[in-house]
Each structure stands twice: as C-alpha cells, then as structure tokens.
C-alpha cells in the first residue's frame, strides 16, 4: 500500500513483484502520453509537492476501504515525459476481480480531477499549452 510521485520512469514488472501476494485478483492500469494532434513532443507535468503525496495516499486508503483491497500502489510521474512514455500506474489487489477492477477505476477517476497535477502539452516546435480539465472527468466522480 503505497503512493509515489517521481520524475524517473517506473518498471511495471518490478513494481508488481511481490504485489498483492495472496490475493485472488490483481488489476493494473498504466497511462501513457498520447499525441492527439500529431504535433506533440511531450507532456510537462507540474505538481504540488507535499500535498500530492498526501492526496494519493488518502485516495488509496479510501479505495482500500471501499473495495476491500488487500493491496494498492499508485505511481505518478512529474516533469517532462515524452510521447509514448508511461505517466502513471495504479495497481489494486483484492480477493475477486470486480473489486480489483472497481478499485482501480475509482482511483483513476480521483487522480484525474482531485490530485494536484497540471499537464502542459509541449509541441515539437517548443510551444506549450496547458491542458484544460474535462467536464467528463468531473462527471466521472459522480459515479462513486
């Protein structure tokens, strides 16, 4: 049960080694930098040191309580991340698959709009544009 914020890449296989031992189901989600315009070079991700770690730990603990997760892990990167590279991962472990899936889905919805990260798209020409929050991401929280 851990949350980390880091600039470095993470190794999914290493993160899953020993994760959720004894569980019946482990779900992982990895988010990658996507290029919707064909012009993007990277994302630059800013965060709020101190609050970010606290928020991720709080959301992890809440997911564990709601979905009876036996283990969870959240890793979210910051700084410059190239197109195609992993930004973040969540992993959840539970006795059964539904709880593991729902726990991961819940965490993703909260990370999208309640964790203090801000994305900037860096184009190949060097110009930078702040990513606007989507109403659909806000609405997704209403499901829970």
């Amino acid at each position: 049960m851990s949350a980390r914020v880091q600039a470095e890449p993470f190794d999914l296989a290493a993160e899953l080694s020993g994760f959720g031992t004894g569980a019946g189901a482990v779900v992982t989600f990895t988010g990658l930098v996507r290029d919707d315009t064909g012009l993007m070079a990277a994302l630059q991700i800013e965060h709020y040191p101190g609050m970010t770690e606290r928020a991720l730990s709080d959301y992890g603990a809440e997911a564990a309580r709601r979905f009876q997760l036996s283990d969870w892990r959240i890793i979210h990167r910051h700084g410059r991340i190239e197109v195609g590279a992993p930004i973040m991962m969540v992993a959840t472990a539970a006795r059964h698959r539904r709880a593991a899936f729902e726990g991961a889905d819940y965490l993703m919805d909260w990370l999208k709009s309640r964790a203090p990260f801000w994305k900037q798209e860096i184009a190949r020409d060097g110009s930078a544009t702040w990513v606007q929050a989507k109403n659909s991401d806000e609405d997704a929280l209403l499901r829970w």
């Binding site: 609050m51 999208k112 709009s113 309640r114 203090p116 994305k119 929050a133």
Partner: protein, 83 residues
C-alpha cells in the same frame, strides 16, 4: 496572521511567482482572494475567473468559504489534470 501563498500552473504564470508570504486579516479564502487581487495586474488576471479557481488550505482541497484561522499555507490553481 502570516500566510504562505502558493500558485500553480497558469495561475503561477499570471502572478509571476510560485509563492509569496503575505500578512493578512482575511477570515476566509474568499476574503484573501479579494486582498490578493489588489496586489498587481498579474494577480488580478490570475483571479479573474473564480469559477475555474481551485484552492487548498494546508494541503487539503477546500472551497472559497473555508476559514483561515490557524492556517499556514493556502494554494491556488486551475482545475487539476492528473492521470
């Protein structure tokens, strides 16, 4: 009281600095915002749209009516885009 004010993303860019220390008698975040707006044109631009403003009080998400008694740190930022 003395507060540490933090700005993130485009609020930081508009204000022109990531943090500042202010001395204030503001009772709520909303009162604080109305005082900060007067500090510079950049502050006024940063706080031009309160509808898209988000804030945290001592690193917990809060709303504009949150009280400031006993608080040390207030952060302002646009809607978050994590994940």
């Amino acid at each position: 009281m003395t507060l540490e004010i933090l700005y993130f993303a485009w609020l930081r860019e508009r204000v022109g600095q990531p943090r500042e220390t202010v001395s204030t008698d503001a009772a709520t975040v909303r009162d604080l915002v109305s005082q900060l707006v007067a500090r510079s044109d950049g502050h006024a631009a940063a706080f031009a749209d309160l509808g898209t403003l988000r804030c945290a009080v001592d690193q917990q998400l809060a709303d504009l009516d949150a009280p400031l008694a006993g608080v040390r740190e207030v952060a302002f930022f646009p809607p978050m885009t994590g994940g």
